[in-house]
């Protein structure tokens, strides 16, 4: 039986196990939406297409599945670009379907026409323009395969309107074989032997885990590996939660706003086992000084990540989970000696760093933003899914909410995209209806996609937004204070809507805390409210994120409080 392109897309979604679509209708996707109304997919109607992609991103990270978006041509498609670029930087599996003007009009500058395949070529893992309805089912299957396999990423499918209307028999190959795409999952065992050798030799080893550990669901094998070898663990922003934030072997996050002990450990380590990381400049600081005494083992499924920013002694191309599982098996056969004794001087040194120079702030009558995050941590028992916007709010969330489990911290790491947190929280809440989902936001970032609050209320998604409201674009102001002689050029955002009334205008609950003793009651009330809530915390205006490594400096060169 022949199906229309629209029917083929719906069936292909079903076969890929899609349950939720984040989307926004428009002229070029009318046929899809017509068909969608006869299916049982959950459709979340966002208020801006950027929100659709961030929501799908949050959904993908919280659920471990592929996030799906459906938007129209032209502006619908261009509005997705920021979201796609963010997902691409963070390797998040998404499939974005964009409508396109009818094939005969392509290239004619038709109404709502844009070359979205051209525009998104550098910020997708792959993309397609479907020219023939006969190819549609196969392309959708390929797109999901590419999105979720290897190093995951967003894949865009652009479908002209006539293709959605024309008919074909639904036919897909049983398995997708692409002669040009075969990710390497299994690590080279010879390389792993070398790793074990290095571990035996090392006296100051550390593990550096990244987003790849979470994406490959390697957390359990990483924890086993770390505990058996007694090697302390640091994790990049994208890797937070891959290793328990309450474990004695936990070092905290490294880099520009990393903990003292994480950065010092990297500076002194003689062995770094890096897994699923790409050595972003925010982590490495001055590259020549980064882990300069260490032999570096780099495990990553993407060969381009290896040797890109940092020279590596032992490259291991492979899936993090499989690699740690192999390493754990190798450990069965080797004698690592009396590890308690061997590691003691190193771990003792790290404990000293932690004791002498912990993360700290002083709480007065005015609310400190760090205090809000700590209270959120305490009152949710560390079990909430936290999304963030970008800037100071993001760094305080990373520093003071101690993530014990993967898939609980959702942030725009690579692109650093303000306006991410609220739609991502919506997506995460859709994926995990029974979880508490909190967007830790700034007063600047929240205004970038605050329209999505309507989406949360409409679909009864009880996300909580904690605005650390300091009346500034705080991180930029911090740089201006420290490096531009306090010339606060255009970072003062003292005009903002009344966020409590804004919540009420959307039919949600708005709460405010002005004094530090009001923080806890506000959070308690928000958590007890089964509806979306905005919490407006009026925090100390010129609080800075510390420690801080100036851009381009060695990460052991920290500005402390």
């Amino acid at each position: 039986m022949e199906l229309t392109g629209a029917q083929i897309l719906m069936r292909a979604f079903k076969e890929e196990g899609v349950d939720t679509i984040f989307g926004y209708p428009g002229g070029a996707v009318l046929d899809f939406y017509d068909e969608l109304s006869r299916t049982d997919f959950k459709h979340i109607l966002v208020r801006h297409e950027q929100g659709a992609v961030h929501a799908a991103d949050g959904y993908a990270r919280a659920s471990g599945k592929v996030g799906v978006c459906l938007v129209t041509s032209g502006p619908g498609a261009t509005n997705t670009v920021t979201g796609i670029a963010s997902a691409n930087m963070d390797s998040i599996p998404l499939v974005i379907v964009t409508g396109q003007v009818p094939s005969p009009l392509i290239g004619n500058d038709a109404f709502q026409e844009v070359d979205i395949v051209g525009i998104t070529r550098p910020c997708t893992k792959h993309n397609y323009l479907v020219k023939n309805v006969k190819d549609l089912a196969r392309i959708v299957k390929e797109a999901f395969y590419i999105a979720r396999s290897g190093r995951p990423g967003p894949v865009l499918i652009d479908i002209p309107k006539d293709v959605t209307k024309s008919k074909a028999v639904y036919s897909v190959p049983d398995t997708i074989v692409l002669k040009s795409y075969n990710p390497t999952y299994e690590p080279n065992l010879k390389q792993l032997q070398k790793v074990v050798k290095l571990i035996r030799k090392s006296r100051k080893p550390i593990i550096f885990a990244g987003g790849g550990v979470i994406l490959s669901k390697a957390s359990d094998s990483l924890i086993e590996f770390s505990r058996r070898t007694k090697i302390p663990v640091t994790a990049s922003l994208m890797g937070l939660g891959a290793f328990p934030g309450t474990d004695p072997l936990w070092l905290g996050m490294p880099g520009m706003h990393g903990t003292f002990r994480a950065n010092m450990s990297i500076g002194e380590a003689d062995l770094m086992i890096a897994a699923g990381v790409r050595f972003d400049d925010r982590v490495t600081g001055k590259v020549e000084e980064f882990a300069k005494h260490a032999e570096i083992v780099h495990i990553d499924i993407d060969p381009t990540s290896i040797h890109k920013n940092i020279p590596v002694s032992v490259p291991v191309v492979g899936d993090c989970r499989k690699t740690f599982a192999h390493l754990n098996r190798l450990l069965d056969k080797v004698d690592l000696g009396d590890l308690d004794q061997i590691r003691e001087p190193w771990l003792e040194k790290i404990r000293k760093w932690k004791e002498t120079t912990p993360l700290k702030y002083t709480q007065g009558e005015l609310i400190k933003p760090q205090f809000v995050v700590e209270k959120l941590y305490e009152l949710t028992k560390g079990e909430a899914i936290i999304t963030t916007e970008v800037g100071q709010n993001q760094m305080w969330a990373a520093q003071y909410y101690h993530f014990d489990k993967p898939n609980h911290f959702i942030t725009s790491g690579g692109l650093g995209c303000m306006g991410f947190g609220l739609p991502a929280a919506i997506g995460a809440q859709v994926a995990c209806p029974s979880k508490t989902v909190i967007d830790i936001a700034g007063d600047g970032s929240i205004q970038m996609n605050s329209q999505e609050f309507a989406t949360a209320v409409q679909f009864n998604l009880p996300v909580k937004i904690a605005i650390l409201n300091n009346g500034f674009l705080g991180m930029v102001r911090q740089w201006q204070e420290l490096f531009y002689k306090k010339n606060y050029s255009w970072t003062n955002m003292s005009f903002a809507p009344d966020f409590v009334k804004l919540a009420e205008a959307y039919g949600a609950l708005g709460l405010r805390a002005v004094r530090s003793d009001e923080v806890e009651p506000v959070i308690r009330e928000a958590l007890a409210t089964p509806r979306p809530v905005i919490m407006d915390f009026r925090v100390e205006q010129e609080e800075n994120v510390y420690p801080m490594v100036p851009a381009g400096a060695a990460i052991t060169n920290m500005i402390l409080v």
Partner: protein, 163 residues
């Protein structure tokens, strides 16, 4: 670190947009393209891109890995590190005043080139060879006055018959 010239032979899916993915990769990451040559192979579903690029070892390594990461790229060979045959074709339109004609014909003969078009005041010469040979003939013809040049960019194949 020294920058070296590398000749990359890239097999890709013969589909619209693939060249733009590759060109975009180079411009987006700040790599150089010195010359570029694209055509179908014996298998009409596959095209060969022969590209000359510059960079020090680590950059060339990244270029190769980044190219291979593109979904439509099937194989990447660095012909600089393997034994290969390389050729380039060039068309030279040279002024041919009567006092120079004999000399031009002699040069054409020495280089085993061909005159493929004759006009009232010019010859068009076709010559193939390695870069050195082509540079040499250009140097020799320059004094007569070169009107125009079109170079094909380098093409290359591995000597090994495996490919």
């Amino acid at each position: 670190m020294s920058e070296d010239k590398h000749i990359l032979s890239i097999l890709v899916d013969n589909q619209p947009g693939v060249l733009s993915r590759i060109a975009g990769l180079f411009s987006g990451r700040g790599y150089n393209i010195e010359s570029l040559c694209v055509a179908e192979t014996i298998d009409p579903a596959v095209s060969r891109i022969t590209m000359v690029t510059m960079g020090h070892a680590q950059i060339i390594e990244q270029i190769k890995k980044q190219l291979f990461k593109l979904i439509n790229v099937i194989k990447v060979h660095d012909l600089t590190t393997e034994k290969s045959i390389q050729r380039e074709l060039i068309l030279i339109k040279v002024y041919a005043k009567s006092e120079h004609r004999a000399e031009i014909l002699r040069i054409v003969d020495i280089f085993r080139a061909k005159i493929v078009d004759v006009g009232p005041d010019h010859y068009t010469i076709e010559v193939t060879g390695t870069e050195d040979k082509l540079d040499a003939i250009i140097t020799l013809l320059k004094p007569m006055g070169i009107k125009n040049i079109a170079r094909s960019g380098r093409i290359a194949l591995l000597r090994d018959s495996k490919q």
